[in-house]
Subunit: 364 residues, 2 copies
């Protein structure tokens, strides 16, 4: 990588990395808007994606990508690393948009999900069923476009062709893993009894690999990481990713909607096959377990039923068990960083240490 | 491009090119099946995509890609050209799968569309509403996976990095153009009065550019084509693509379902904003025009209503007008080939000549 670091960006600080990524997204989208104008394309397509992309999000995948770069000895935050990180965020926008359509989620980041926002927009000029149809399908299409544009960002990031030869197979694996995870998630979420092994596999694919391992690898490869470094990053990513998703599951059912930006009833209503739920169904006494089973996935779930479900999940010890799993996985991730101290840069390792702790102690 | 031509493939002959592309797809999907098995992934994902990809299709985009290679002086059909052509076909599978979900089409290539086939599959173990939900969303996801895998096929085609630098921007443009076309198509198909200018723009984006111009360009770039060659191919692609779509529109409403593999009522029922329909609405007398408007997009369209619509479209002269437009655009495409004779290889030019004629005189 020959590009020089942007002197304005202080490395390691999450908020400056986020700002750099958002600036990159903004520049890219402005270019797309200009392109659309000169090709006489409707301007609203870019606008809708811009609103989705720049209206929040933790930018976790970009952060892991940049920290992977640092951990493997990369210095500063040069533009190609920022743009690769931004490509991951645009790919994630695609994943979220399709995810929300598939889960029929109304809320994302405390605002209407994209298909719902589009439905409201189209309802100004169309009858409700048409507006709903358009909202859903235009959202799927905007997701497709985000996928395409994430590829474009990657290809134009200024990565040397020697590096690109190592980057592309990882990108391919990441995409495929995420989609297999989504497939298992979709199919298992509508089965009667969630299978804990499948739930865990979904967590590994959709969170540990997709959110943490692959972004770390991409950043590290840009810095020319050895296979040993990549293996250490995998060993860190897998327990951390699992813990991260377990925290997400807890927040999805026991979180404060004011802080998480989403309803704490949705996971229950969708019958999401989380490890938390799988454990509760196994731990609760037969009566409570069958009550819980009846409540899960009930599309007309009431607040009272949701409270009952929460009482069962907490009462049988599943909630505490998940908390203790989070602590154990967190400790394992930290141990890996300590053991890998000779392989990883001290600053990068420290940043990964801090990020692991923030990711697990969060309230949103 | 350094790879040697496969001596088994006779160039220019469409059926041998199709066979080579299908063999490439088959090899790729077998590798994906093995990968899934060793990663403990469900085998059905690859199987479902294989069934969709290898159960028919005209392979037009691969053909145009290979003929672009020939027209720009490429010899034989070397593996990287075949694999690039196959990547286009897998991208097209993604486009068709999402298209059918968006249009709520029941039939594709004479068989149930993918989301309908999946719905039937899931109905064996789920209640109907859940089976429908799963069918739709698993289809969207398999489309996403086809998109991802088309990228993987392209990246592993063995294209030199110098050529890749010219290939990738064209691929990005192709994807974006196709999606803008789909956006315009979606939004305009549910408006009261189709706008002929928008219909034409959709035709240019979804057919002329996506089906013909960009595949030709990709093949030609692999052979190191000059900008002048690319411009000639564009000049050929635009009238041919327009004529091709007009033929498609005629077949969609006046074709023989036995030959086309799809119902001749679907376009009317969907209220597809074709140039044919836009012309008919403008040409028919006020009474016939308003009857036609009432029929278009009626989801409960009867066979008798569809016949009335066909009588109006033929009676007002719109059908004949579209036939004469097809002849005119075909002649224009042939003229471009003749004018560009000094730039294009004689064999490549002859193949493009033949393909233009087949594409417009077809019954399916």
């Amino acid at each position: 990588l020959t590009a020089t670091a942007d002197p304005l960006i202080a490395p390691y600080d999450p908020s400056t990395i986020r700002t750099a990524v958002d600036r990159c997204l903004d520049t890219f989208l402005s270019a797309k808007a200009q392109e659309a104008a000169s090709d006489h394309m409707p301007p609203d397509v870019v606008e809708m994606l811009r609103e989705f992309l720049l209206s929040g999000g933790k930018r976790l995948r970009p952060l892991f990508c940049v920290y992977g770069w640092h951990a493997a000895g990369g210095r500063g935050v040069p533009p190609p690393v920022v743009q690769t990180a931004a490509a991951l965020e645009v790919f994630h926008a695609f994943a979220l948009i399709h995810d929300d359509v598939m889960d029929e989620s109304d809320i994302r980041r405390g605002r209407p999900s994209l298909h719902r926002a589009l439905e409201s927009k189209f309802a100004l000029h169309h009858e409700r069923p048409q507006a709903r149809w358009l909202g859903t399908h235009v959202a799927v299409l905007l997701g497709d476009l985000a996928f395409a544009w994430s590829g474009e960002l990657l290809h134009t990031a200024g990565i040397s062709s020697a590096r690109m030869d190592r980057v592309l197979p990882v990108v391919s694996r990441m995409r495929t893993e995420m989609m297999y995870g989504q497939y298992l998630d979709l199919v298992s979420s509508r089965t009667e009894v969630p299978d804990p092994a499948t739930s865990l596999k979904v967590v590994q694919l959709k969170t540990a690999k997709y959110t943490i391992e692959r972004p770390l690898h991409l950043g590290a490869i840009l810095a020319g990481a050895s296979d040993a470094v990549l293996r250490t990053l995998s060993d860190y990513a897998m327990p951390l990713g699992t813990a991260f998703q377990l925290r997400d599951d807890l927040l999805g059912t026991f979180g404060d909607p004011e802080l998480t930006g989403k309803s704490d009833d949705d996971d229950l209503r969708e019958g999401k096959a989380t490890v938390l739920v799988a454990l509760a169904l196994a731990r609760a006494d037969p009566h409570a377990s069958s009550s819980l089973r009846r409540i899960l996935g009930d599309r007309s779930l009431t607040a009272a039923q949701a409270d009952t479900a929460r009482q069962i999940i907490a009462g049988c010890g599943a909630r505490q068990e998940v908390e203790s799993l989070i602590r154990r996985y967190h400790a394992e991730a930290i141990r890996v960083l300590d053991r890998g101290a000779s392989l990883l840069s001290p600053n990068g390792s420290q940043a990964l240490h801090a990020l692991a702790t923030t990711a697990l102690k969060r309230h949103s």
